[in-house]
Symmetry: C2
């Protein structure tokens, strides 16, 4: 059990009626907001309507900034920062999924400094202040609505990097499961895979010797993610499944499971960031579904006991070997419609080398063990994913 | 899945070196503190020494207020409020277990109003402001260090009531597992039982139709509590067991498990509050160990599925009936040294009537279903505990 500091001051308003609190919450943070969103799905799922109504009632002025892409990019982020500065907004409202929230965090931090926001992602600077941020979540996946992380891709060099700081915690997040009812099936699948990956990394890569609490809680959240995802695919209109799934995805990565586990490396994320940094059309969850089983094969001897535990907990395997867990996991990913090979996400064998190079670069930024994860070994993992 | 608002802004500093942050954290809240503690065990376990050293280094003045009793009482609370007002302290430091923290919350809320603090406990008033509170936990049991609840006993009428409000969240809590190394075995046992009871109430008494996340997480925390308690009793000097236990007890009742479960009644607590309100020498955990199996017997038909789940999760029972779960739970409580009958905590058959009356009164304050929990039925439960 390692020492830790746990602090998560995000106020979560959850449920079908949560938006009734939006106006009052927004008022706490100022009189003028920047409303950030993506390609406009929030105009179909009801979120835009509810936000605008609430802001008007609360007499809060707002400026819209749309067009955030999945795997949000630095150039668009910078446009948002310029707009926030020009319009002198008091706070930011992010309405969408993890990409919108991550870019909004970057805008919130970038709007109060005079230097390039990318410095926060390379680690040269740390965010020390930021505009207040409120999120309205419409796509459960990254848990950015309840953590202090943000991931941005720099299109100039294909680097997808992250930053984190207490000032980037949203002040409040609104989670209305009804906004997720119109999501395409694949978004539920990729969101689930993303949430599972957020547990997989600390589950397998933690450094603490003993922490049964975190592993037991992780087992419980993993089971919820699997069962709720299956339930939603079978019965897409069931509110309870959507709601329980939405909250499970958030809890998977709000910091609780990682408490006391010590430092955990994020190798699956490093490799996936290389993939979607170079191939921006690959969804983060799709990339992770391809990488995780391959990575598990790479570590199957070192992580034998945990792989067996993972298989027993999620797939009720008994008297099994790590290979059985990996096989069951891959089969389950296929069964929900996730890709499990590079080919399925449009990546060819001769792309492996450049992905490995980029992943190696990400791992260096993350101060990971690059002896274990040498370029050759990353290529080996990627080859397992062919 | 029910709508909810989740907000828990307590900053938790956890681990053997956590006190190095104490001085800086304290400075944020003012220049003069009231240091509240009990009978002085903090002078033996090292907490007092570390606090005083940190305060001196941080040049923070402090006034001591000791003598908080287990099951803290209103009269002593009022003395603390008077002292806090007279000395014009900026903030409160609670050093001890749940009793010290609960009384400190009452002092924090009472020091900023001119009326009787008991009004917060009867529900006539709600705390709207309070002095900032920092806690240094030395006895894991109530999770008061990471929630907004407080329980106080009014000795004049034997009523043990609770209050809760966002302003009662500690600003920061320091959890150093080394302070728990010198605890008597029975304190570990009672603390474990208390933590289990905090999960048992929402686990069995929730009103949401569907919430697999909360039940799965609850299962995981319950297993951690059981295993860590057993481990500590077998190997009292093992830091990892103490540490993982300490954090498990906090997580059991920091609000997370209850999210989305809807309203849960707390019948075991209502009955126990009557017991320790009338018999203040009964430890809260001891009372709960006696009440819980008896209460389970009372609801064994209504709660059949959940009782089977509880038995499977904690005691690996298979193809079992609720009675087997109750028997296994009772046997396990005995095995760790907890009492399981009223006689063992010094209560006689002819005390049952007055306990039932008092419990019924508590249940009325808590707006519980007093048809289900009529005086006769409470007597029935207590009779099961003979």
């Amino acid at each position: 059990m390692r020492d830790f500091i746990f602090f998560n001051p995000v106020k979560v308003y959850f449920g079908k009626k949560c938006m009734k609190y939006f106006g009052n919450e927004a008022k706490k943070h100022g009189k003028k907001a920047l409303l950030v969103y993506g390609k406009g799905s929030i105009k179909k799922n009801g979120a835009y309507h509810d936000i605008v109504n609430s802001l008007e009632k609360a007499e809060i002025e707002f400026v819209e900034f749309s067009g955030v892409r999945p795997n949000p990019v630095l150039s668009h982020t910078k446009e948002g920062i310029e707009l926030a500065k020009k319009e002198k907004v008091d706070f930011i409202i992010a309405a969408g999924g993890g990409s919108v929230i991550d870019e909004s965090k970057a805008i919130a931090a970038g709007a109060v400094v005079d230097f390039d926001v990318w410095n926060f992602y390379t680690g040269e600077k740390t965010p020390e202040k930021a505009l207040p941020l409120i999120t309205v979540l419409t796509l459960p996946a990254t848990a950015s609505e309840m953590n202090m992380g943000s991931v941005i891709t720099n299109e100039e060099n294909g680097l997808k990097l992250s930053t984190g700081a207490e000032v980037l915690y949203p002040k409040a997040s609104f989670l209305n499961p009804n906004y997720t009812m119109t999501l395409p099936e694949e978004q539920i699948v990729y969101g689930t895979v993303d949430a599972i990956s957020h547990i997989v990394e600390p589950y397998f890569n933690h450094t603490a010797e003993y922490n049964i609490l975190s592993l037991n809680v992780a087992d419980g959240v993993l089971k919820s993610l699997k069962e709720n995802c299956e339930n939603i695919l079978n019965e897409p209109n069931n509110y309870n499944f959507r709601a329980n799934h939405m909250w499970s995805v958030t809890v998977a990565f709000n910091g609780l499971i990682r408490t006391g586990l010590g430092r955990s490396e994020f190798p699956n994320h490093a490799i996936e960031h290389a993939i979607s940094g170079l191939f921006p059309d690959v969804a983060h969850g799709a990339g992770l579904a391809v990488v995780m089983p391959a990575w598990m094969r790479f570590v199957k001897e070192e992580k034998e006991e945990l792989l067996k535990r993972f298989g027993q907990n999620l797939f009720k395997l008994e008297n099994h070997k790590p290979d059985h867990t990996i096989e069951a996991f891959k089969n389950w990913l296929k069964s929900i419609g996730a890709p499990v090979s590079l080919g399925e996400i449009g990546i060819k064998e001769n792309d492996i080398e450049k992905i490995a190079e980029k992943a190696y670069e990400v791992m260096q930024f993350w101060a990971m063990d690059t002896d274990k994860y040498s370029k050759e070994n990353i290529e080996k993992i990627l080859t397992f994913a062919l």
